[in-house]
């Protein structure tokens, strides 16, 4: 049962990830990325990491991708007309690069296959909010504060960059 769900979610994730790359319309790309995120949240549930699965939906699908959609809609970008109709060297190079990386990762994985066949039985207790909160607020309290600072800095920085101040034309002495 779990294998079938995994295969379904994996195909969904990969297909929508491909669609992100090859769709001409930017809004479609963003929506397919949302689909990838939701499919990955499902995969996290299969890994019994419930907290991270929910957080993934809240942060990625609910916040970050909404921001992307906002920006795309407000900039009102045209769909790219020529995505693949010219055969250019660039695409081949990119494709070869990507496949090379994939082959390398899969090769290094293949040498140690069947290393960890089962999800650890402790996961039923570890994936819960209580367990994560316990570790997060005891062992990782300093990184947690640093991340809080980082987020504040990012929000302030974004406001500064995006703020469009037109210098008022000074009409002094002609």
């Amino acid at each position: 049962m779990i294998s079938y769900i995994f295969i379904f979610l994996a195909i969904l994730a990969v297909a929508s990830a491909l669609a992100v790359v090859i769709s001409r319309n930017t809004v479609n790309s963003a929506l397919f990325l949302v689909l990838t995120m939701v499919a990955l949240a499902g995969v996290y549930l299969l890994l019994q990491a419930q907290f991270v699965a929910v957080i993934q939906v809240i942060v990625y699908a609910g916040a970050i991708m909404v921001l992307f959609l906002f920006v795309i809609m407000l900039l009102n970008l045209d769909a790219e007309k020529s995505l693949f109709n010219k055969l250019r060297v660039k695409y081949f190079v990119a494709f070869i690069f990507g496949v090379a990386v994939l082959a390398q990762i899969l090769y290094s994985m293949g040498t140690v296959s069947n290393m960890l066949p089962e999800i650890s039985p402790q996961m039923a207790q570890i994936g819960t909010v209580e367990a994560i909160g316990d570790v997060l607020f005891k062992e990782y309290i300093l990184p947690f504060h640093i991340v809080a600072l980082l987020l504040t800095a990012a929000a302030t920085g974004a406001l500064l960059i995006a703020q469009h101040t037109i210098n008022p034309v000074t009409e002094k002495n002609d």
Binding site: V54, V57, G62, A63
Partner: protein, 335 residues
């Protein structure tokens, strides 16, 4: 996570059935109550007391012509109305309707509710964008900005409830209110939650999204026929879901006030009937409040909505959360 039992399926079926029907009934009662408040008669022709009016409305919507803007994006235009209905129905999965009467009890239930709410933004945004019309786009962006802003006070208000239940499971939140409802322990949180729920459901006084004077129909300007009907249905389902959430988080869920102190122990069928009727009565009352407010209070201006959300409710909710956290810590450690 608990195994799924046959009770889950029965509760799920009944809950979805009631939710869909209650949306239709809410449409009828909205019109009747509006008429009552404005000293009119309201719809009273179709069936006894006009009770079949929702059916007539549905038939009317189904028979209308379905128009898609030529310059719009057809696929997204079709998918968008389904999203709000879908997310509204998904919330029913974790709400407890009585002692042991819930579909599932996940230990991140509250976060699940927040996640589902945040997905509802896509419906209005995409509807506004795919119509390819200025009014729709502006309405959609307004709706999305408003929903995103009011999610934060909503989340903080819920977080201050979690302090009392000490668990993120919605069932535990409901059970923790057996003696004291959360409204008595956390009144500021309750006010914030109710206001934020109104804003999330895009209801008056926060229905800027469809302010006729400014935006024609807002994000559903270009929608007709059953696609419009889906938005209509979603709005009333959000009213019902909002009432259920207010009941669950602040008004004792299926418990009578201070039930733990005076209510004798009852078991079996009577317990189920009592729980469900108490829950239903509260939900109906809050649905009535939603309608009542709509016909009483005028609409805010958009800058006022945003100012209220970001400058008043968010700091207030955070301060409320921190004060409560300190008080509860002191209560458990020093008293």
């Amino acid at each position: 996570m608990e195994p799924v039992t046959s009770t889950s399926y029965i509760v799920l079926g009944v809950a979805l059935f009631m939710l869909l029907n209650s949306a239709a009934l809410a449409v009828y009662f909205e019109r009747r109550i509006a008429a009552f408040i404005q000293n009119r008669v309201g719809p009273n022709r179709v069936g006894p007391l006009g009770l079949f009016q929702p059916l007539a409305d549905v038939v009317k919507l189904l028979l209308k012509e379905d128009v898609t803007p030529t310059q719009g994006y057809r696929v997204i235009h079709t998918i968008a109305p389904v999203i709000p209905v879908f997310t509204a129905l998904m919330t029913a999965a974790v709400i407890p309707f009585g002692e042991g009467l819930y579909v599932t009890d996940i230990n991140t239930g509250v976060l699940y509710l927040l996640a589902i709410t945040s997905l509802g933004v896509y419906g209005v945004t995409l509807a506004g964008w795919s119509s390819n019309s200025k009014y729709s786009l502006l309405g959609g962006l307004r709706a999305a900005a408003q929903m995103v802003s009011y999610e934060l006070p909503l989340g903080m208000a819920i977080a201050s409830c979690i302090l009392f239940s000490q668990s993120l499971s919605v069932v535990d939140v409901a059970n923790s209110q057996e003696f004291w409802w959360n409204i008595f322990r956390n009144p500021i949180g309750a006010v914030i939650f109710v206001v934020a729920t109104f804003a999330e459901a895009n209801r008056t006084p926060f229905d800027l999204v469809e302010a006729e004077q400014e935006l024609v129909g807002g994000f559903h300007t270009e929608y007709s026929s059953m696609k419009f009907g889906m938005f209509f249905l979603a709005e009333y389902m959000h009213v019902m879901i909002g009432s259920m959430l207010i009941t669950t988080f602040f008004f004792g869920s299926y418990h009578l006030p201070f039930a733990g102190y005076w209510l004798p122990e009852i078991t079996g069928m009577w317990k189920v009937i009592l729980d469900v009727s108490v829950f239903t009565a509260k939900t109906v009352f809050f649905a009535f409040v939603f309608i009542w407010v709509r016909w009483t209070i005028p609409r805010f201006k958009y800058n006022q909505v945003m100012k209220l959300g970001w400058k008043k409710m968010l700091p207030l909710s955070i301060a409320n959360f921190m004060v409560l956290a300190v008080l509860i810590y002191a209560y458990y450690n020093f008293l």
